[in-house]
Amino acid sequence: MPLVRYGIPGLLGSITSSNVVAASAPVAAAISRRAAQHAQREQHSAGYAEAEQAVAQAEAEAAAAERTAQQYATFGPGAQQPAPGQDDVVSRLDDLARLRDAGVLSAAEFEAAKVKLLGS
């Protein structure tokens, strides 16, 4: 007999990208969109400024996930991704810096991502 799955809290209501061990590109994008919706709902209970920031962060994450999804679609799962060229590294560094300035990435996360990018 099917179980009743309506009107129960569920397990993924407050999920963010920080909980994700692995996700396919479309699911990662769906998680980011959900995080944005969750942040908007929280607006009523949380301080307005904090909620605004959370929404902005979640939306930026969603946009980043969409970009990843596009990349994924371009190269296809399992396809060999070309090594990033010099221009690519610079533009990705720019992206990272913008994310840091927008408060999406902490300074430590920015440094870590930069090290990874330059090391690749």
Partner: protein, 138 residues
Amino acid sequence: MDLGPVELIVLQFPGQRAGPAVAGALADVVSRGYAAVLDLVFVARTADGSLRVTDAGDNLDGVGLGSLQLPAQPLISRDDLDLIRDSLRPGTSAVVIAYEHRWPQRLATAARDAGGQVALHVQIPRDALAAAVAAAIG
């Protein structure tokens, strides 16, 4: 709440059945006491695009998971399923499994048997983990 760490995994497959090794792999870690299945849902998108949901409480023979002994406690909600529904293309399917890690309880028991205790047990956020690992190998 007497539960260890709980995770949720979604395994996606071409076709309308779970991969042949899934049930065996799951039964193996459960029988060894490493994990317990808390809830399981199988979702398939048929060739015409409609969604077919097979529940832990249903007969799972038809989707290749019939050998599993599963508790019927609804933890996974329709909202949870919506998260993966849109990524399912026609003719593909997915099994959603909520499972508990049981093996840390053995460590806890070992500590208590020695007169000790679990002072802290946390799950590390992925972004913190990524930053720490990147710094360690940098």
